[in-house]
């Protein structure tokens, strides 16, 4: 403990010598010295208890006989059983196959899409950018639901237009749905990369006589390579950990995530489920470390002199890129349209008369599940964005003693598959003394922790944009850490706060894998209801539930737009007043 206080004191002494001269009272300094380590320790404990402890339970169950830690109990029997049973081992090959395929397809598709957005002068960019972000507002099951309606054994396109016997179930279905699901995630990275790289390099090469192909392969591609790797790593991670799409469209094609669920729920083999979790953790952790390493380099590549002025593209280039972007956007729109229309027609694809009957959900949860989801998500939004902002603030400006360590802990959740975390929560917290088990709070905590990484990264990048002199001014005028945070940092990062709020809200409304083990008789969630409805064969009602979630998330996004516009002007006023 002493070490922490000492460290905190040292940094405060070094960095805020000025305020002392301006006469901060000693009690205030005492509070400051107390607050920063307390907050830091609190965040560290939070991540320890709600992230590492559940993971530890999984490790224990997979490596030790009966889950009892001890040298004598150490066993590799579970792993032996896994690698010698052909259908469980196949799940690993299946997972790797679909993830690698998805990664290659998504990276190529999105690279050219981002290229069109940043390096060509096609029109309708705002539209294209908005469309490619659409998959974020829906649970990662909507792709599978729509693809079955279109290309299933009785699909509209396969069986009724083309009249062929081919269908999309299995590996193809998983790959196509994962591709459509991962587009926005990869796009954000590649778009940032391509807009940050100095375009004048391309121009220089061109004016020196390089052919367009040469410019592309020698200049454009190499300058974006870190972004490409990073997008690929993220896509791989998202695909291999996804549960919703494979469970719906995979049919007999089992992947690691669905196999964990099957082992636990069908055979009551929690130990094998934990073992497969560890096996799933390895590739996703590797992709994460690669991404972590690469994304640091990406920042280094971004040139401050980058100029986003794009020379007019040649007509042929413009036309072909417009067609390309239209095709990509069309496939996303068709997914959403299918699910929404599918929720309103009587019997797809036989009876197209409109009906609202699918919105009378034949499940116990029904509409109450939607409301539970909404208020759970509001708590997740507020809690998640507040904690990540405070954590980011403490890490970024107060530089606590073990900043690197806390930082590493906070970015780790991105590497942990939701399903693994959910299983860990059951194993770790289902004891009588953990009063929050079986309440909605465990879901709130789980979703916050699972999405901690992006929240903290965006908080930090936002805080870096705040001029430190404002904060220094506050401190020299006598504000302590708490006051500075609430009076200066919080109002200034209000837009970032709302953005984080919506991000957490959206994740909480749409996540399936993290909470499927945690829903209970008292807490039904809308996203899980979709799985249950589909599982029972009420596909149209599953579509209807999906539509409800999309509408709610869109409403929340609309509110954010209005709020951020309002606070945007307010913020300027505040800054000028200071």
């Amino acid at each position: 403990m002493d070490g922490h206080y000492l460290g905190a004191m040292n940094t405060t002494a070094e960095e805020y010598v000025v305020p002392v001269e301006y006469g901060i009272s000693s009690t205030r300094m005492e509070i400051d010295r107390f607050i920063v380590p307390t907050v830091t320790i609190f965040i560290a404990l939070l991540l320890f208890f709600f992230m590492l402890f559940p993971l530890w339970s999984i490790l224990q169950l997979s490596f030790f006989e009966g889950g009892q830690f001890g040298i004598a109990n150490f066993t590799l029997a579970n792993f032996k059983k896994y690698f010698t049973t052909s259908y469980t081992l196949n799940a690993l090959w299946h997972s790797l196959y679909v993830s690698v395929a998805t990664t290659i397809i998504v990276t190529i598709l999105v690279f050219f899409f981002a290229y069109a957005m940043t390096r060509t002068t096609i029109s309708g960019k705002t539209f294209f950018r908005n469309v490619i972000m659409m998959p974020l507002v829906a649970p990662s099951i909507i792709q599978a639901l729509a693809l079955i309606y279109l290309f299933g054994r009785n699909g509209l396109i396969t069986a009724h237009f083309l009249k062929i016997d081919w269908n999309i179930y299995g590996a193809t279905g998983i790959i196509v749905s994962e591709v459509l699901y991962c587009l926005p995630h990869a796009f954000v990275i590649l778009y940032t990369t391509l807009s940050a790289v100095d375009i004048r390099l391309d121009e220089a090469a061109e004016s020196l006589g390089a052919t367009p192909l040469k410019v592309f392969t020698r200049i454009t591609l190499p300058s974006a390579k870190y972004g490409i790797f990073s997008a690929a790593a993220l896509t791989f991670n998202l695909t291999i950990t996804d549960f919703g799409n494979p469970v719906v469209i995979g049919a007999d094609y089992n992947v690691l995530a669905t196999e964990i669920y099957a082992q636990v729920t069908n055979l009551y083999r929690f130990d094998l489920g934990a073992t497969i979790s560890i096996i799933l953790l390895v590739p996703s952790l590797m992709a994460f470390i690669l991404n972590y390493y690469i994304s640091r380099k990406t920042f280094a590549m971004i040139s401050g002199a980058a100029k986003p002025v794009i020379p007019p593209s040649r007509p042929l280039k413009k036309i072909s890129f417009t067609i390309y972007c239209c095709l990509v956007s069309f496939s996303i729109i068709i997914i959403f349209a299918t699910v929404v229309i599918g929720s309103f027609v009587k019997i797809w694809p036989y009876d197209w008369s409109l009906t609202l009957s699918h919105y009378k959900f034949p499940s116990i949860g029904g509409y109450s599940a939607i409301w539970t989801s909404v208020w759970v998500s509001i708590f997740v939004g507020i809690g998640g964005s507040f904690i990540t902002l405070v954590a980011g603030y403490v890490m970024e400006t107060r530089k606590p003693f073990f900043k690197q360590f806390i930082y590493l802990l906070s970015v780790m959740p991105a590497a942990i598959p939701g399903l693994v975390m959910g299983l860990g929560y059951i194993l770790a917290f289902n004891k009588p003394y953990y009063f929050f088990y079986g309440t909605p709070w465990i879901i709130v905590i789980n979703v916050i922790i699972c999405n901690f990484t992006l929240g903290i990264l965006s908080s930090i990048s936002n805080l870096r944009n705040i001029d430190p002199s404002i904060e220094e001014a506050s401190i020299s005028l006598g504000g302590d850490t708490i006051k500075t945070f609430f009076k200066i940092i919080f109002p200034l990062s209000r837009v970032a706060f709302f953005q984080n709020f919506v991000y957490f809200f959206m994740r909480s409304m749409t996540t399936i894998s993290a909470v499927i083990f945690l829903v209970s008789a008292t807490v039904h969630l809308a996203a899980i209801e979709i799985i249950m409805l589909d599982n029972d064969g009420w596909t149209a009602s599953a579509n209807a539930m999906c539509t409800c979630i999309i509408v709610i998330v869109l409403i929340m996004l609309g509110i954010l737009q209005i709020v951020s516009k309002k606070t945007g002007t307010h913020q300027e006023g505040l800054v000028s007043a200071l």
Partner: protein, 341 residues
């Protein structure tokens, strides 16, 4: 400031109202694997019959329910189980996870529908059935099957769908009934030597998919995705009512069946409320409601649904519940190694 104060008052009032309601009613937490659509219907009646109870229920598949109970063993979240396969139930008695309770009206239930010590009390029986899509059969010129043996006909290649016995109780009872019917000597040999596996291997050649839930084969078949779904009887009647082109075939060799039963859980936090619920769950009023869906209920003299054949006219398979319960893990192991790819 005033506005904030007003808001606080509103929140306080809202909170006290919700808490007040929660205090006035006794809570009972119920796990069930009855089909969602029935449960919604039954719960409406239960709310009317038991106004003092706040019934919190979740529907889980047969496998999911067992996994939940095991996971929550140290800290049971549920008070009782309602309508869960007896095969699975029996595995949990030796684990000490059930408490004997003989609900009111227990005596009226015939002895073969209840555990003699009161660990479980069955409410209904549901039977395996083949549900063909008549339109698909006609358009592909396929014959109407009469039973399991007809399904081996190569014309049905990839046109059949069946539940995965590991995740679905329906799938399990289908496989278990075949194991018992096709090998009269099943008791005296290890599970993997059973003659029925050869039959299942032949059947596998025609199987388009093994799917997680027991009702979904019928529903996907109704939607035209397959020609014949191996499912259970009442899902047929609900699809027929909705206007799907489906037929009902009870296998001529004998329809496998399963009992669905209720039980009180060890460590129930609301034991009294759970007992009230379990009393209601075998009351005449509840039984009459079950009979709207189920092929047969365990109270005598309550007729089944009009659109299903009467239970007495159906040839049931000779199920051996103690044997299949004891060998469940082994049966699933053999099945998964043979048929999961």
């Amino acid at each position: 400031m005033k506005r904030v104060g007003l808001l606080m008052v509103c929140v306080a009032v809202a909170l006290s109202i919700t808490l007040g309601v929660a205090v006035a009613k006794e809570t009972v937490v119920v796990y069930t694997s009855l089909e969602n659509e029935e449960v919604v219907d039954y719960l409406e009646l239960a709310k009317k019959d038991l106004p003092g109870l706040d019934i919190q229920a979740i529907r889980l598949s047969t496998g999911e329910l067992g996994a939940r109970m095991l996971a929550e063993r140290d800290n049971p979240q549920a008070d009782c189980i309602w309508g869960w396969a007896v095969t699975n139930m029996s595995e949990f008695i030796p684990k000490g996870m059930l408490v004997p309770y003989k609900p009111k009206g227990w005596d009226k239930i015939p002895a073969h529908f209840k555990n003699p010590d009161g660990y479980w009390t069955a409410i209904d029986l549901y039977a395996a059935a083949l549900v063909p899509n008549t339109k698909v059969l006609a358009s592909k010129n396929l014959p109407m099957p009469n039973g399991w043996n007809d399904l081996l006909n190569p014309v049905y290649k990839d046109m059949l769908i069946m539940p995965n016995p590991a995740s679905s109780g329906t799938g399990f009872l289908q496989v278990a009934s075949l194991l018992v019917m096709l090998d009269p000597d099943y008791k005296n040999k290890p599970v993997e030597k059973n003659k029925a596996w050869d039959f299942l291997k032949e059947l596998d050649k025609n199987m388009g998919q093994y799917i997680k839930s027991g009702s979904k084969p019928a529903k996907l078949t109704a939607a035209g995705e397959y020609a014949i779904g191996c499912s259970f009887a009442f899902v047929y009647s609900s699809l027929k009512k909705k206007g799907f082109p489906v037929a009902l075939v009870l296998p001529e060799e004998g329809a496998g069946y399963e009992l669905e039963a209720n039980a009180l859980l060890q460590g129930a936090k609301h034991e009294n409320a759970a007992k009230k619920f379990l009393d209601w769950a075998i009351s005449t009023s509840a039984m009459k409601q079950y009979a709207k869906f189920k092929l047969g209920v365990t109270y005598p003299n309550i007729p089944g649904p009009k659109d299903l054949p009467a239970l007495s006219t159906i040839k049931l398979a000779p199920m051996d519940f103690p044997w299949q319960s004891e060998n469940r893990a082994k049966i699933l192991d053999v099945w998964q190694n043979l048929f999961l790819r």
